[in-house]
């Protein structure tokens, strides 16, 4: 069997920039497990990204879009009333919800759409769960005048109808996926099928830090703007680094974006928050890092939720964006070496945090981000008032109000 080469250490001997390796491995995790029919396109992407990531024009265009189109930097906000109510560590929120389109997803779609442009592709495809990545992809496609097709599971289309309509208004075609569990993983399968069929003119914008190499690396690179800003803002606003970072993990792009620039800061603890759904003990959850084992799905080796026969099992979460049986391979590696901690929050706990964010801070958090908030509050309560944590408020929750109302028996 595969054994890890990197061991748990004090991390001072790890060169974080050496991961992934040239073939996309984070030790045993990651890699490029794709059908030969896709390897040509993946190879083109690897070569293009290797060149463009050090291309000054490309980077300048990316930075300019983040500033003038997304509205970055997003604030690091001191949630004083909530902190007081909790009575522990100072809670800071990284306000990715204030980005254009309302979530961190746009950072990545701008980066990948620029890649598409530099590679001469005219058509964009994307998969989406909660619809945030779909909206972000449709947005950037509209702005760049590209055709856009978004694959979305039938179940997710039903529970995220506002985002479906937003995508359509933006000119994207939303294709309903009715195979398998009809959620995010099936949308991803369908997007891969489209890509393999239309490789010549199509760029596949994957929405999270998963998939075959180089996706986990390039999505991470585009999302690290979150952590780079947060690190600088923490120093400027508080004179020091935070004691802990907290972010929700579905595929894990907002979490890796926040964590990565802090990896070498050994005193900064990291908590990735998975969806415990109805409870980890019920089996009805979406927590591969907490409860899964390593396997291969969607192009990479990583922790997965599968059964004894290696079949992927259905996940459960109130939050469509966390309802995924895999996770980005870098998180799997950070878990194995012990650099980040992975925990889980139930649907009920997330809903409580959703309401608390609104009542204490006047902020509507996405259900995904509400998982991070719920754990952040738990963690802060165990800490001292002179300590501080940053919770990534990865997206806004306007899209979720229909779900919340339905759960509470309210007809809008």
């Amino acid at each position: 069997m595969l054994t890890m080469k990197t061991k748990k250490t004090d991390f001072s001997d790890i060169d974080w920039s050496a991961f992934p390796d040239a073939a996309g491995h984070f030790d045993i995790h990651g890699g490029c497990f794709a059908a030969e029919t896709l390897m040509g396109a993946i190879g083109d992407l690897q070569r293009a990204y290797t060149t463009l990531k050090n291309n000054a024009n490309f980077q300048a265009e990316f930075d300019e879009d983040l500033k003038y189109y997304v509205g970055r930097p997003s604030p690091l906000y001191h949630a004083k009333r909530w902190t007081e109510a909790v009575g522990g560590a100072q809670i800071y929120l990284k306000r990715e919800d204030l980005n254009h389109t309302g979530a961190h997803k746009i950072n990545n779609t701008i980066g990948q759409a620029l890649l598409a442009k530099y590679m001469g592709k005219s058509r964009i495809i994307a998969e989406t769960g909660a619809g945030q990545h779909g909206v972000a992809s449709a947005t950037i496609a509209a702005r760049m005048g590209m055709e856009c097709v978004v694959y979305m599971g039938e179940v997710d289309i039903a529970r995220q109808s506002p985002n479906v309509y937003r995508m359509k208004l933006l000119g994207a075609e939303v294709r309903s996926v009715s195979s398998g569990s009809k959620t995010l993983k099936d949308a991803l399968n369908e997007a891969m099928r489209d890509w393999v069929t239309n490789v010549d003119d199509t760029f596949y914008i994957i929405g999270t830090v998963a998939g075959p190499h180089p996706y986990p690396m390039l999505v991470r690179d585009f999302q690290t703007i979150i952590g780079r800003e947060a690190r600088q803002q923490s120093l400027e606003q508080t004179g020091r680094l935070p004691d802990a970072l907290v972010a929700c993990v579905g595929g894990g792009s907002n979490a890796i974006g926040l964590f990565h620039p802090f990896l070498a800061d050994a005193d900064v603890a990291m908590y990735g928050v998975e969806a415990a759904g109805e409870g980890l003990e019920t089996g009805k959850h979406a927590a591969p890092l907490c409860k899964g084992t390593p396997g291969v799905l969607h192009g990479n080796r990583t922790y997965l939720m599968d059964d004894d026969d290696g079949q992927i099992i259905e996940t459960h979460s109130v939050s469509a964006g966390l309802d995924y049986p895999g996770v980005g391979p870098e998180h799997s590696w950070l878990k194995d070496i012990g650099r980040a901690n992975y925990v889980a929050i139930t649907d009920d706990e997330a809903l409580t945090a959703f309401h608390d964010a609104m009542r204490y801070e006047g902020i509507i958090p996405a259900l995904e981000s509400s998982h991070a908030l719920a754990y952040g509050v738990k963690l802060a309560a165990k800490m001292q008032a002179d300590q501080q944590i940053i919770v990534n408020l990865s997206g806004r929750g306007d899209k979720d109000i229909n779900t919340i109302a339905a759960l509470e028996g309210i007809t809008l």
Binding site: M1, L2, A23, G31, C32, F33, A34, A35, E36, T37, L38, M39, G40, A41, G43, S179, G180, K185, D186, L188, N189, M192, R193, V196, T197, N198, V199, D200, P294, G295, V296, L297, H298, G299, R301, L304, D306, D308, D309, G310, Q311, I312, I313
Partner: protein, 270 residues
Amino acid sequence: MSRLALRFATLKEQNKAALIPYITAGDPVPTFTVDMMHHMVKNGADIIELGVPFSDPAADGPTIQLAMERALAHKVSLTDVLAMVSTFRQQDNETPIVLMGYLNPIEKMGYLAFAKAAAVAGVDGVLTVDLPPEEASALALILQQHQLDRIFLAAPTSTLPRLKKIAELSSGFLYYVSLKGITGANILNVAEVEQKLKAIRGMTDLPIGVGFGIKDASTAATVGGIADAVVVGSVLVKHFETYEHDKDTAHIQQVVGEVLLAMRQTMDEV
């Protein structure tokens, strides 16, 4: 000599291309598969490609996806598939069997445990769709140690250096995917295929099978004229869909047998 090598050698002497039908193990019900395999041999199959059900077959089109869903409704596992091969071998010790599937069930069983069990069951070759050469060395070595052939895909988009790598790792035969896309997609372009096969033949003496997009007997015959083997899947598997309405496996067996036989006869006429 392995069953695959022997079969290809025999066919070469007869100046024939191999006909390789694909079915998904356990589709539409687990009890049907072994009978169907024997029936396909009777109707002209030289080698059988047996699909191992997987919940997320991202490289397959809707026909094969549905086949896998039907099999998984009966919880058909990799262990069950190997048991089917064992049963088949009680009556047929000549027809080579290639397992085609995705990596995760093999990862779950463990490479070594899988290779041992597959060799004991009478499997001849293994094609793992989502395992490109770059990631394949560990599994390929273990398969080789258990005398199991390593079948890899080559695609229209595979560059020459990639084709070389694929040819080096392959044994038994090399599987050329004749079009861009998923299983069951468009009709292939014969001239394009012929050109690519020429390039591949410059790198390997292995027999080359061509699959994806072969939908009728005349295309099978044309491809059989330029390749060493013709792989047909979706065109057969779509006939399994009627089971949902009539629960009639005998009908499936008859229709699929007829389609195969027509292909065999047309291929042999050329």
